[in-house]
């Protein structure tokens, strides 16, 4: 464990049942406003911890309804060049899972926005399952999104996550057949993540007409909120896709803006403006 997190004693988290379910509350609020939730992604530690923390907070200030924090991995097989490069920058800065949990804790200290960690199984489990779920609960992380963890392999993590009150989000793809949709819907907690393109993150744009029936088929099989991600990069796309789902995830487009920025303040302004524009698009 990171000595920084170890040194700082935190009050014992409330038991799972009594912890506020920030995820459900956020989706309910958006539904009441007749709009899809805006889910933003930044890579933890990209290009350094302080900047990544500022970017996550900029997303919150820009009106994100749920923030995803990426946990960097050396071999991200589901990611396109933009997020691969972000992971390389974060690892180059020495970022660990504990560091990303630290960013989450900083966001939690300022906001009740739901937080999900997104990353690959190997670095997530390197310190052990108990350390992971305890770290999440302590930092105020609400959910884990692990692209290389399928429902049928999840017994390594699911019981401990449930015990700690940490949701486990599964991904569905355009290639998923009805049986897999049902299995994921049964196993998932919090929400389901529909990968809108057959491909890696940031690779190409989702086309609303193509994915509408696929998302509808998923929503018909679950009570859980369904978010659309992987192929959304502009306010126009967010506006087109929003009505199809309970939420829209924007990742690579934000990461790109962080990579192109100069000063931390300029980057934060740019990210905040962009997130606001996405939020406006979803409200219409």
């Amino acid at each position: 464990m990171n000595p920084r997190t170890a040194r700082k004693p935190r009050p014992a988290p409330p038991a799972a049942a009594e912890r506020p379910d920030r995820i459900t509350a956020a989706f309910e609020r958006c539904r009441a406003e007749h709009r899809a939730a805006l889910v933003t992604y930044v890579m933890g530690g990209d290009p350094d911890l302080a900047t990544a923390r500022a970017m996550a907070l900029a997303c919150v200030e820009g009106g994100a309804d749920l923030v995803e924090l990426g946990v960097p991995f050396s071999d991200p097989i589901a990611d396109g060049p933009t997020i691969q490069a972000a992971a390389q920058r974060a690892l180059g800065a020495g970022t660990t899972l504990e560091d990303v949990l630290g960013i989450a804790a900083a966001v939690r200290a300022r906001s009740q926005v739901p937080i999900a960690l997104m990353g690959y199984l190997n670095p997530m489990l390197a310190g052990g399952v108990e350390a992971l779920v305890r770290g999440c609960a302590d930092a105020g992380v609400d959910a884990l999104i692990i692209p290389d963890l399928l429902p049928e392999e999840a017994e390594v993590l699911a019981p401990a996550a449930a015990e700690a009150g940490v949701k486990l989000v599964y991904l569905l793809a355009p290639t998923s057949n009805p049986a897999r949709v049902e299995a994921a819907a049964r196993a998932a907690t919090g929400f389901l993540y529909f990968v809108s393109v057959t491909g890696v993150t940031g690779a190409r744009h989702a086309v609303a007409e193509e994915i509408a029936p696929l998302v509808a088929a998923v929503r018909a099989r679950t009570e859980l909120p369904v978010v659309i991600g992987f192929g959304v990069s502009t306010p126009e796309q967010a506006r087109a896709l929003g009505p199809l789902a309970d939420g829209v995830v924007v990742g690579s487009a934000i990461v790109k803006r962080i990579a192109e920025g100069r000063s931390r303040r300029a980057r934060a302004e740019r990210v905040k403006r962009f997130v606001r524009s996405l939020g406006r698009a979803l409200r219409r």
């Binding site: 071999d75 097989i77 589901a78 690892l91 180059g92 199984l121 670095p123 399928l150 599964y170 057959t198």
Partner: protein, 429 residues
Amino acid sequence: MKTAALPDERGRFGAFGGRFVPETLVPALDELEQAWREARADPAFQAELDELLRRYAGRETPVSEAPRMSADVGGCRVLLKREDLCHTGSHKLNNTLGQILLARRMGKKRIIAETGAGQHGVATATAAALFGLPCEVYQGAVDVERQALNVFRMQLLGARVIPVTAGSATLKDAMNEALRDWVTNVRDTHYIIGSVAGPHPYPAMVRTFQSVIGREARRQVLELAGRLPDAVVACVGGGSNAMGIFSAFVDDAHVDLVAAEAAGLGLSTAKHGASLAKGTPGVLHGSRSYVLQDGHGQIQEAHSISAGLDYPGVGPELAYLKDQGRLTLLPQTDAEALDAFQYLARMEGIIPALESAHAISAARKVARDAGPGGLVLVNVSGRGDKDVEQVRKMLEAAPPPRRTRARAARPATKAKARPRAAARKGGRR
């Protein structure tokens, strides 16, 4: 322990194996598993594969005596399974012919592969040419440079070689990129994984296609020597040639299965590829196995003189066999492999691949220990033509001592390590 019963229906070998992939790929893996299951029950498929292996690949490959090596190591009889004589110069074609038949059965229109040394890339390009399918091969940029001959062979065979510059620009990064391609083009593309690694059903399927090596070798050894060998020695990167030959002997408890991983510059350094000897359990490229990783679960860059062993993971079945105590691990350094490369050339007139030279080096030790009356079978998984230029440069840079048991880095191996270090950016170890 009957390992033939493994993996279980979820692709598990004990605690190892399984499927740790993006959801997008699952239907393709299910489709592949079903096609393979149906093909195995289909006599026509088996007949077509057998025919290809016989008339096209040149099977069966012989088991050769190694009389001068036997005398040199003190009288232990050494037998060589000659996969170097298989068409394309290595055992890799056994698997690519099997998988290309499955690809055709599934109606896939495009073939992709990853390659390290280029042996699997060449074997894939060959099978794709034979069946008229377009083929793209991902290869780390570092390997593209050090295996230029195989790059040109793949191009001659009509394949497109895509250099991968990400990460360490070697085999693991080539596999990442191939997986990303597959995630993107999964509907019409078949990914021919070359090792007993990756998500289920690949480890079991590739082992089964490669088990022809062990079936032949077991019979050939019995014919030649009238008994089973005391030890079977194979090099291990991902482990396809090793599982191919071990699978026929794994239930013979008295046959020692010796895995020669890449010890690189030494197991006490960070520059090696010995995932079984020095790795810890983790998830890489779709399955749980032993991997080289740091305390935070970041995959470390492997190092080996041979591109085919330069991989920080290993097939899950080998991880399982290790935990069962069934394997003898005998990692060999770059220097030892380089020495064995020349040794087999001079002693037996066979230039082995640098990968296979690790097995030769380990076999020298095993045979020396076994002594007269011993019987050791070595899998010569490939021929060394592809490595001749690299070895020539290394030997010119530093003529080797007459007889090496060197552990530390010699100038020859350092000269080769330098461009790799330069190609590395921002990675931590």
